[in-house]
Subunit: 342 residues, 4 copies
């Protein structure tokens, strides 16, 4: 079976990374590629690394253009997916790489995104308990945010095993591609090279309610999240340091066992051997996740560090992985677990 896939928003970073994976996917034929202000341009001028698609021309993002495909990926600015999705047939697999359908709580959505809530779709993080079952056969997928991917995979096993108190503290560093391709002064190379800086401090980052939602669901109780994102001088990668107070009896051995159990058989997540710590370089360009845990017995905290590529497992790779599950394909098709290093 070969499915025909369209990509709305093919000129951005998420769209470009998605095309890199789809080009390597034996079961996908790439159909329409659309853009907004870039419609009419050659893809080669916008994504010069995608040689095989250089002569393809971007079309406008309309339902007419996107119709007639088996799968439609939406890599659009937040708030624009619903209008497109509702014009696509129910038999079409729509994979939303934006935030629009991630949150279950309308009030959370409105508080953090400032627009009416569009709904909730099956959540594309297959490693979460029950997630694969919800993805199998679905025709609508909400791809998780990049930070929530790194943080949820970092912490959920501790909460699933009732080893951590429900107050998580997270500091994460992201490569600049996480901020997208829009030209803003603080994203200039001259500004970011050689510099680290935070943003969205104090609970205001839009990914915070998504982390709370994921961790609370697994924990069976409300988990608070203190989340501080920082911008790091690298194009890709997220390194998330997540911690929570250890519950009484939460020994290092119990923690390690919980993570080993959670990730046994997972094709993309590696709990590293003791003594080895994640590095974003090791997962560069791949769908791989590296995780390591520690138990700080003096501070009584479980500390977890997780590394992903924000554009790959954090966006486009996660999207393809979930598409594979939804369509009954090999979950790893088109994806690699091997980073591009050094």
């Amino acid at each position: 079976m070969v499915v025909r896939a369209a990509v709305a928003g093919a000129s951005g970073y998420a769209g470009g990374e998605l095309l890199r994976f789809l080009l390597a996917h034996p079961g996908v034929r790439i159909g329409a590629l659309t853009g907004h202000s870039n419609a009419g341009q050659r893809l080669g001028a916008l994504q010069p690394h995608l040689g095989p698609l250089a002569d393809r021309v971007l079309e406008p993002t309309t339902a007419d253009v996107l119709a007639g495909h088996d799968v439609v990926f939406l890599a659009l600015p937040h708030g624009q997916s619903a209008a497109v999705a509702e014009q696509l047939g129910e038999e079409v697999l729509v994979v939303d790489m934006g935030a629009d359908f991630r949150l279950t709580d309308a009030a959370d959505w409105e508080a953090f995104y400032g627009s009416p809530h569009a709904g909730t779709w099956p959540y594309g993080l297959p490693e979460l308990p029950g997630a694969r079952a919800a993805l199998e056969g679905t025709r609508r997928i909400a791809v998780p945010g990049c930070y929530p991917t790194a943080v949820t995979l970092g912490l959920f096993p501790a909460y699933a095993a009732r080893l951590a108190e429900p107050e998580a503290v997270i500091v994460a560093a992201s490569g600049t591609s996480g901020a997208g391709k829009a030209v803003k002064p603080h994203l200039l190379g001259s500004e970011v090279m050689g510099s680290m800086s935070p943003y969205g401090v104090g609970g205001s980052h839009r990914h915070t309610p998504e982390m709370i939602q994921n961790l609370s669901a697994v924990a069976g109780e409300r988990v608070t999240v203190s989340f501080t994102p920082t911008l790091a001088p690298m194009p890709r990668g997220i390194l998330a340091t997540s911690s929570a107070k250890a519950r009484p009896g939460a020994t290092y051995e119990a923690v390690r066992a919980a993570y080993e159990k959670a990730y046994a058989g997972e094709p993309f997540v590696t709990l590293l051997p003791e003594g080895q710590w994640p590095a974003t370089a090791s997962v560069y360009g791949s769908n791989a996740v590296q995780i390591q845990v520690a138990h700080d017995t003096a501070a009584h905290r479980i500390v977890v560090v997780s590394a992903i590529d924000n554009l790959a497992k954090g966006t486009a790779g996660g999207a393809v992985q979930s598409m594979n599950i939804a369509l009954g394909l090999d979950e790893s098709a088109g994806l690699s677990s091997i980073g591009v290093a050094p």
Copy 2:
């Protein structure tokens, strides 16, 4: 008055940065420069950015060479300062840029450094309550560690004002110069560029007891510290994200007032205007410190972000600032509060 200063360990990164400041210091004449394996070499071959000293030749690190100076800076590997210092007269100002004399608790020293405790000297962080008085006229100074500088300046005002619970969680990113000039595989440019990775996770980093010591002294109670250092793809800079649960009644206004009070009149520390966050680029090469605070009312935490240059305020700049106080010079002599950006 012009003092004559010797630098033991002039070939390393801390030594080089110190010489950059001393060359700009109107009250200092640079005397002997020593090295260990590099003794006999031209400084120009080792520190090619220090043009005016290019033809100086490194001497061996011996008491004979260091004798006869008004000030001796020790930029030596941990554990080697005591043997040198005890051969220098009590009238000589000895400024130890290593860890040897920072900790007051011998058990802490031995647990984290694995050697006998050498003693405790006045601590060179002038912004701490009471610190300037202890530094004035002293002939022995223990320069703080780079991470403890960033973290202590980030958190002490909250503890001094009794606004934070005594359990601090800190994640900090450091440029690679913090690891020194020793050639180790994981510090190769090919490994660090484009990558973030943690180390010393779970409470094992040697700077942890120093942070606990500083914060506990200010708080008047034992403060636990969960500290995770990470290596960032930049040569210099520390960005520390520090947080603690807010005590009842610790409003944002109270927090901000505490920081304004703590840093009023400080020549090198800036509490940024609301809405502006620190960036390590802004303090690059300078003795400046940028700080910003937030109150996460959903997670009930005070979050502080502080940025320093690890080699400047974090090591050599702090050393010069404390030397200036000890000698009764202008505290800012030789130092700049202006970063080299972009």
Copy 3:
């Protein structure tokens, strides 16, 4: 057909990149992996990005270990390949990723490498005139150097078409992985980030005679080469700027036509559309080559810029491409022409 491949020198950067390609190659099964000082270690500790091979253990580099494979890749320090190769049977395909068998002139070898010349093997740059014919069915391949790959592909069409005078001037920037994994002070991240510096200036770089050999063969006359390599603050990539005086009558149109003809049908080389210039990011991690040409009518020079990934097309990708030709496999098997960007 599935061939069994051994890799001697699997712990280095070239060896790691080779394994990344071989893991993606449908016709290759990975056999013995060897190291020198690293023998006995888990590959996961040395190449943490190669997840699927993490538990493989390095064996010592001996003929016994390497025997019994269809293909043996040698990623050894210069001068060590001959001793290993001669112990392997003539039916084994030996692919030398070192310099030992690249040069035809023994005097050149001895002048630049300082040891006796080991011989000359078919040269693994398939895009050169006649090269594919020499590679088909061979059991010995000399993989080109990284700089000679970028420079030869940049200039040979101009020389093949008799458009350029035989005095080439080349300045190239390379990522740090080109210097390998050996720990040297000038390769520390602290030294290379934010800095550009030259080395091997004035004709002393070992890749110079290889460029002269390639260009002279195509030109049918002795071509002199002024080559200046520089170290750039990036892990991967070579950007080579090559120029030569235009011969009388060498119009821009003639130059462009020569390059279009030289690269028509080449699976990995792209002559970019007019107005678009190569970037190393566009070929990151891939076997792709980007080339663009200009005719400076004021300075009377043909200027060519070429971009490759030094570890991929410049070493391990080129090795796999030539292996594929030698074994009669699909020339692109295991390789990608899509860069990992941004």
Copy 4:
């Protein structure tokens, strides 16, 4: 004597660097600071590294605002300086950091800049023969371009001594700040980190006629220049590799002697000892220039590598140095010859 200086264009990179130097200058008091679209904003929001000026507010760039200062620096887009300058009195020292008054040939100006030629002012490269005399007492200074600074200092001694043929080939790498603070897609951090790319290839870069002008004047004959600029993944620095065929009799010793003579006594230019090569890190943030020469006897070329900081000696540092000469101040006032490294 303390002069009062205004800066038109204080929000850009050149303006910011200039202010960094002026703040360190004992003979300068900083007066009006102006911006265009940024007028009315706090400088602290635009130049967060300039702590001491954080509360200054940008005024509009008008003659009224700039009047009443002893010195006016113009850091404006090309083509805008003349209109401002002619409204300032002849007794005011006007230092133009743009290109408007650099070229002597109106046809060159019009061909490369596409607007009417505004005139020619004394050229602010004091190291050139005769330049200091022309700068002493002048009230108008044209600050050289960044690339012409690096290239002219690299090559003029060879031409002054008649050692090189009049056909220069130059490839230079620049940090991204050379492209200014305007937000353009190709200058995003995600695009430039980890990548090298050329631009303005084939003789089209606007700095080309300025190099030709400088070198031809020294050589006493028309020198052609093939110039290829490249964008390097670093915020600052230019590394220029310049070469030309050696004239008969131009031995290495003669070349070295010519450079030693040209730079004897120069406060900011260092001809490095043999065996040591320039690095942009060594001149980071300083007015220093590092130069090294080689004679490639096989290719018969003189090869010179020069390193500067594009914002410092390449723009703002050069401006201050020339201002000092014009006003009869210490030529080094406000400037440093010490780089910020690592």
